[in-house]
């Protein structure tokens, strides 16, 4: 189950985060303001979210194991 969620979740991030920079000219201006600093901020945000999604994936795996252990005991 967890594996079925993990990859779509990553693709969701792939679809949404760059989407923030896309579209109207105002958001493109925003990404280019302050010497394009927000490009770096977005990159760090992607890395952070990616690691969080991976942690959720590990968490679900562990929860499943814990449930099995409880049933056996």
């Amino acid at each position: 189950m967890s594996k079925r969620i993990f990859l779509p979740a990553l693709f969701l991030i792939a679809a949404f985060l760059p989407g923030m920079a896309q579209g109207s000219d105002t958001s493109a201006d925003f990404m280019r303001s302050m010497g394009k600093m927000y490009v770096v901020v977005t990159a760090i945000g992607i890395i952070f979210l990616g690691i969080v999604v991976f942690l959720i994936f590990l968490d679900r795996k562990l929860t499943k194991l814990e449930k099995q252990t409880k049933q056996n005991d």
């Binding site: 760059p18 920079a21 600093m37 990159a43 992607i46 590990l58 795996k61 056996n72």
Partner: protein, 350 residues
């Protein structure tokens, strides 16, 4: 207890350092705008110049348009409007010391506070007719001397890149960490084939899983960076395409693992596949991109990790970032491995 977890604390401390230094060290001053960009020779022309991270107020500023070492034109007068805006007036002679109708000039600005900063191809000057004899009289030999250097710790300013040069501490270490994790998987896969210990197979799988995570993050951060510097999320650059293929090869590793019921058989096939995938990755990432044109530095004749793309100040942040993310990757892989091992034990007990 502390000894056992020491490397995890080290990973966090190193990454903390790279985040703080990578985000807070300022860029060198630079020039972002020059207006107009195309002019006619033989006129006094006033240019509007916009600086970045500059401190023009109350500073002894000098400015030049430079064609080559011997042909330099000084601005006079220079009107300082604020810390970032200048008005430069250049009296451009009617004839240029070149046989071309149009000549490009580099704008050079020097100040004791900001040091020397420049804008390549700042202005294109057109002349109606070529007259080298008159031009040599109108362009007396002049040289730029007594340039200043900005004091303090700074990162290079590069046009188009601007602040995104900091992505070198976040985007590039993803790839380095990915390659190191895949290399770790090769070592454990090899050890499995030699000693037939199931734990080595699980270690390799965990490392590849974490490596693929870093690879996907590298692709996504690269896409956002590319959108704002190269103009598109995906420009079909050779290195982008090859890394996508490389990640697909590694994703197939997990499809392969799903296909085998018998753990011994699965471990043997996937260990051999991990070796194959790593040796397929080397030409994909390090050989093919160098053979053709690429937007990435280090390919198609561009210098790699050198010059103004990665100076010595940046190395002080970049290499710790690579090491820090690699340790972080090992930590994540280890967590993954411990969960996998627990699950295998559960299965054996049942």
């Amino acid at each position: 207890m502390i000894k056992k977890h020491f490397w995890k604390a080290l990973a966090v401390l190193i990454l903390l350092y790279t985040f703080i230094a990578g985000l807070l060290v300022p860029l060198k001053p630079g020039i972002v705008e020059m207006d107009p960009r195309t002019v006619q020779s033989g006129r006094n022309i006033s240019f509007k110049v916009k600086g970045y991270n500059t401190h023009y107020m109350n500073s002894d500023i000098r400015a030049w348009l430079k064609m080559d070492e011997d042909h330099v034109l000084a601005a006079s007068p220079i009107l300082i409007q604020n810390d970032r805006d200048l008005k430069l007036i250049f009296g451009i002679p009617p004839f240029l010391p070149t046989t071309d109708k149009t000549q490009n000039f580099t704008l050079i600005i020097d100040s004791p506070v900001d040091g020397v900063h420049l804008l390549p191809n700042a202005v294109f000057v057109s002349q109606d007719s070529v007259n080298l004899a008159l031009a040599s009289l109108q362009w007396p030999p002049e040289r730029i001397t007594d340039l200043h250097e900005k004091a303090g710790i700074t990162f290079p300013f590069r046009n188009i890149l601007a602040e995104t040069i900091r992505n070198i501490y976040f985007h590039v270490p993803m790839w380095f960490a990915m390659i190191l994790l895949f290399l770790g998987a090769v070592i454990y896969s090899g050890r499995f084939l030699w000693k037939k210990n199931m734990q080595d197979d699980q270690r390799a799988a965990s490392m590849i899983r974490t490596g693929v995570l870093f690879g996907i993050l590298g692709l996504l951060t690269g896409a956002v960076w590319a959108k704002n510097t190269w103009g598109a999320y995906w420009s079909g650059d050779i290195k982008q395409n090859m890394t996508a293929i490389c990640l697909l090869i590694y994703l197939a590793y997990f499809v392969l693992r799903q296909a085998y019921e018998d753990p011994d058989h699965r471990a043997r096939v996937s260990a051999v596949y991990a070796l194959f995938a790593f040796f397929a990755m080397i030409p994909l990432l390090f050989v093919i991109p160098r053979l053709t044109d690429s937007l990435h530095p280090g390919n198609g004749g561009n210098p790699a990790l050198g010059g103004e793309d990665l100076d010595n100040t940046m190395r002080l942040v970049f290499y710790p970032a690579v090491f820090g993310w690699f340790l972080m990757g090992l930590w994540i892989a280890q967590l993954n491995f411990r969960i996998e091992r627990l699950r295998e034990r559960r299965l054996e007990e049942e």
